[in-house]
């Protein structure tokens, strides 16, 4: 097992506001990790820094031993919490786009999943509902054989049935050697699939533990522990 993500005294400020405050975090490969925290705690900021969509104010971050750049982008598969596809494109065009740029993209896996979802490859993205767009993006992201998957709020804003589908897709397309980092504030829905949890609050890491330790040693569910830690 190797370290896929390493943060050393990582800080990010937006003007006077501190989004991440000297974070030290190591994530091992081959785990499904929940990045849990209330809204505004810094989850999305950390994930965006991993994907080089935000610049670091101070500290360092390494993905598979390398600073974020073109090389790390080829091994990180990112699902943002918004639609990021060109809505004028058709589904088959987006598949071609992903297949062209990502060597680890599995086209047949993507097409199979889309077929099961009854998503027509010739349909234009802007004609799709919000939920369908999110499923499409998830399919594209999980069709890559990446080393690190960063899923930012993958189940927020979708119905419970869609949430189950999304979580099943994550589990069924997950490479055992890869790491999945799921950021969410909907704990009870995801805790069944998590190996580890990282609690983040006001830009600081409050806790980083294995889910089994929380359940068997502390005798609580992750959801219960979360409510305890973040009690208002």
């Amino acid at each position: 097992m190797s370290t896929i993500l390493e943060c050393k005294n990582l800080s990010k400020k937006f003007g006077y506001k501190t989004a991440l405050n000297s974070i030290n975090l190591n994530l091992e490969s081959g785990k499904i990790i929940g990045l849990l925290g209330p809204n505004g705690s810094g989850k999305t900021t950390l994930i965006k820094i991993i994907n080089r969509l935000l610049t670091v104010t101070s500290g360092e971050i390494f993905i598979d031993g390398k600073a974020p750049g073109a090389e790390t982008k080829s091994i990180v598969s990112y699902l943002p919490e918004r639609t990021y596809l060109d809505e004028h494109m058709r589904v088959y065009q987006v598949i071609d786009y992903f297949a062209d740029f990502y060597e680890d993209f599995d086209r047949s896996r993507a097409e199979n999943m889309l077929q099961k979802l009854s998503i027509d490859l010739s349909s234009r993205i802007k004609t799709m509902s919000k939920g369908t767009k999110e499923k499409l993006q998830l399919v594209l992201v999980m069709s890559r054989r990446a080393k690190l998957y960063c899923l930012d709020e993958p189940i927020a804003g979708v119905d419970p049935a869609a949430r189950d589908y999304i979580l099943n897709t994550i589990i069924n397309n997950y490479d055992e050697n890869a790491t999945i980092l799921i950021s969410t504030h909907l704990i009870s829905d995801v805790e069944t699939i998590l190996d580890e949890v990282v609690f983040i609050h006001e830009g600081k890491i409050r806790l980083h533990e294995a889910v089994d330790d929380i359940r068997f040693v502390k005798g609580k569910s992750v959801d219960e522990l979360f409510r305890e830690v973040y009690k208002c």
Binding site: R52, S74, Y84, D100, F101
Partner: protein, 270 residues
């Protein structure tokens, strides 16, 4: 990777620009055919005058639309939601910037070419031949450097215009929540900086002629004339052109470096 970026950039911008330029081209052909049938010429008669006016307006609109469209494309694809995909592709910032710049440059040259062809068709005149004749006359009269620097200036003007837009948009991205306003303000500021620098250049290269040697402008100056006045004016203009070319190149480099630096080191997608 750069080839792939170029391919997708071309696919993204060409449909709209292709349609708009085809419309202008068809306007010129339609105008030519109608005027041939009516046996009228452009600018002659009510119909000729009206059609020519509409045509000129369409030329101006398409010219500005091309650059605005390319600027919006750059902004949306890099600094808005689409940027979450573009900026996570396994490519370098340099490759991203070059891909957009190359396609934008290609379309700005195509834009000029298509608009010129359209004018040639409507006005039934080969303006390309006219320019060629002008260059040949100037070269025969011994003004080759003037011609060369003029051509180089036109080429670098295309480059500089695009990079100025990209630089302004990149600078605008540094103002969270006010990116568009920031971009416009940056563009206006660059315009004033450019104008100020060009004014200094004019004063340095042609100031003496403008303010002191007033008899130059009272003289009969013709291309090919051997008078000292004509030679002095051509020398001043050549110096001005050389200075303008150098300045355009310097500004282009500055715009590129700023755009690249911000994309590489200061990207903060909201």
């Amino acid at each position: 990777m750069l080839k792939k970026l170029l391919k997708y950039e071309w696919k993204a911008v060409s449909p709209m620009l292709g349609i708009t330029h085809t419309v202008v081209f068809l306007l010129s052909i339609t105008g030519f055919l109608i005027m041939t049938i009516l046996q009228t010429k452009p600018l002659e008669g009510i119909f000729g005058g009206l059609y020519t006016t509409v045509f000129f307006l369409s030329i101006v609109c398409i010219y500005f639309f091309t650059y605005i469209y390319l600027a919006i494309r750059y902004y949306r694809n890099i600094y808005t939601d689409e940027g979450y995909l573009t900026n996570t592709l396994p490519v370098t910032s340099g490759q991203l910037l070059w891909s957009k710049f190359i396609i934008a440059l290609l379309w700005s040259v195509l834009d000029a070419f298509i608009l010129m062809i359209s004018c040639c068709i409507l006005f039934q005149r080969n303006f390309f031949r006219d320019f060629l004749d002008l260059f040949q006359t100037a070269i025969k009269a011994g003004y080759l450097p003037f011609v060369i620097f003029g051509i180089v200036l036109v080429i670098f003007s295309f480059i500089s215009t695009i990079l100025e837009l990209y630089c302004s948009i990149s600078l605008g991205s540094l103002f969270p929540g006010k990116k568009v306003l920031g971009s416009i303000v940056s563009y206006v500021l660059w315009y004033f900086i450019n104008q100020a620098v060009v004014l200094v250049l004019i004063l340095v290269t042609m100031g003496k002629d403008l303010f002191l040697e007033t008899e130059i402008y009272s003289a009969q100056i013709e291309i090919g004339a051997q008078s000292p006045a004509a030679e002095a004016v051509i020398r001043s203009f050549t110096a001005y052109f050389i200075g303008l070319v150098i300045l355009t190149v310097i500004f282009s480099v500055i715009y590129y470096l700023i755009s690249h630096y911000i994309l590489n080191k200061k990207l903060n997608l909201e």
